[in-house]
Symmetry: C2
Subunit: 363 residues, 2 copies
């Protein structure tokens, strides 16, 4: 009974968000068409990016709203979901430039799409540079759209509301967190090794946990007028959940199956990501192995043999085990906090399912 109504309600919300995104981008497309047909690829990139995805953030927001007594299928929560999806698309576009990731969900990333357009058309100068420039602008446009959608909510998201404060904080924190992430890639090798795990944990808190789970859930709650107490309860659940989610992502970034993740194996290692997993390895591995990781991380030309060797070190020194134990611990913390939440059956079950999917996924 509950499972059935939950599934259909959730599917309906996802469909409503998709329809709203479609309508919103359709209106934007009309404006763009008055400027020049040449700008179509910017809109095409954004549309294609918001079409896929797990919609984790929109769903967290939805159940945060429902848990706080918001009506199902209310236009405000659909619009909020739409704003979160647009923000995520903007973040992914710029992220992929920063990480030099040429693939996204099994297809070319936005900067790669523009490089390919350049090459296909036989344009002058450098195709890669054009790709990066066009993707910076596409991400900026998408970031503006996200805010435009959020403002469409109207009075519940107006200046001074709790929802607006959460939305602003979410954006600032994820950008700061991303910066800490790229900083650790370059500064990590010359900073103290003992602090590597702590720094990596701080990074995932801001760039991922707060952004992917804590803030979306709180945003939904705030839009429905949740009490401060409920918001604190949400946070006690969503923050450890988000950390576990990102730790799972980090494990998949090194050990995931490319066929399932849609990313080449070992891409996180080539990007030089200094994750908690890597932090444990650097601290626990023998000196030689630890130096090997330090030398190899961030090398674009990392081959299969090197990736396999780094994996071996991570497994043998117990870093994978330590990370899995941390995921387990954070998951338990999240699920215990979830059961303490004063929620009706439906949102409680929905959040439990989302949480289970987040920490046990393979992609």
């Amino acid at each position: 009974m509950t499972a059935e109504s939950l599934g259909s309600e959730q599917s309906r919300f996802v469909a409503d968000v998709a329809a709203k995104l479609n309508g919103f981008l359709g209106v934007q497309q009309e404006t763009m068409a008055t400027i020049s047909p040449d700008v179509a690829p910017l809109m095409g990139s954004i549309t294609s990016l918001v079409t896929g995805g797990k919609r984790l953030r929109a769903l967290m927001c939805y159940w945060g709203w429902r848990g706080a007594g918001g009506e199902s299928a209310h236009p405000d929560i659909i619009t909020a979901g739409c704003a979160l999806e647009l923000f995520q698309a903007a973040a992914l576009i710029h992220d992929d430039i920063i990480d030099r990731s040429d693939t996204r969900r099994g297809g070319p990333s936005v900067h790669k799409r523009f490089s390919q357009l350049h090459e296909g058309e036989g344009w002058a100068l450098d195709s890669e540079r054009f790709g990066h420039a066009a993707a910076i602008l596409t991400g900026d446009l998408c970031l503006s759209f996200s805010e435009e959608a959020f403002t469409e909510i109207g009075s519940r998201a107006a200046s001074g509301t709790a929802a607006r404060r959460i939305f602003n904080l979410m954006r600032a924190e994820v950008m700061a967190g991303q910066y800490l992430d790229i900083l650790e890639e370059v500064a990590g090798p010359v900073r103290d090794r003992a602090g590597a795990v702590d720094r990596a944990q701080s990074i995932i808190r801001f760039k991922s946990a707060k952004y992917s789970t804590e803030h979306p859930l709180a945003l939904g709650g705030a839009l429905a007028g949740a009490s401060e107490e409920l918001l604190q309860g949400y946070s006690a659940f969503a923050l450890p959940l988000g950390e576990a989610f990102q730790l799972r992502d980090d494990v998949l970034g090194v050990f995931g199956d490319p066929g399932t993740t849609g990313k080449p194996a070992g891409d996180d290692l080539r990007e030089g990501k200094r994750t908690v997993l890597v932090g444990f390895a650097i601290n626990q591995a023998a000196a030689d192995d630890s130096s090997y990781i330090d030398t190899m991380l961030g090398r674009q030309d990392l081959g299969e043999a090197e990736v396999a060797e780094i994996r071996r070190i991570i497994v043998d020194c117990g870093a994978l085990e330590a990370t899995e134990a941390m995921i387990e611990e954070l998951s338990n913390e999240a699920f215990e906090a979830l059961e303490r939440l004063p929620l009706a059956d439906l949102p409680l079950t929905a959040l439990r399912q989302l949480a289970e999917a987040a920490v046990s996924r393979a992609a």
Copy 2:
């Protein structure tokens, strides 16, 4: 009398915007400090960038507001000026990455500041890549701040208001215009030469004229409740003014004195900007000279001799003269439209002064 009160009123507004920016960024800095002391350079870059500048957009907005009957020193117009300055800073940060400009107002651009930080600290991996990544994130943060400030205006800028529509349109159009600009750099050489001037004019309309003058003036007017008729009158003045302003900028980008502009001589040529000035040259110069420009544009290694040769071609074929004539014509159109505006003496004089400074500046 008028000159004196105008000067003091304008100085007061500029000081109010600076103080508001200071307060706004101070609050943001407190949030950032709770994340990590490592994120300080992001805030430092933004603060340093909004400290300088001509404040053209904020002033257009102010006099648009005053012309439509808005009170002097009203908090809403100060906040709007602040939002425009933050938006401009965000645009400059990403622009400088796109154009590979290492200098901004005589100092290092943001991506260059981060590269220098990387080198100074002796960090690992590539300093240039780190600089670009950090500047993408700093621009994103600044873009979010801009919107956050704009929303602080409250009801006059709420969802559905004319001011919000203008702000949204301004952002979308400038990003689309920037894309057309980088597209022309790469696609221009293989597109028809006869259309080069028209395409360059369309680019400056969207990336510059609408953004720098038309929309800020309309925004101020809309915030003060201007009639549709007044907004149309504003546009008839500000659009040709903005085009003349950008044409002047393009001339300075090739012929300007580096000591005054704060940019190396010929930087626009190295960036491969296909401006109206260049479009005229490609159409009017002899075939050899035209091909020379096509070959040299966008080459990062362009030396003084090549820059001098391109200048010679631009002058000899009459492209400079044609561009100056266009500036003259657009200026006349703008000033005539200005005199038709039903404005009080003070805003009329102020807009006249701003317009004169915009089209006759040397930097």
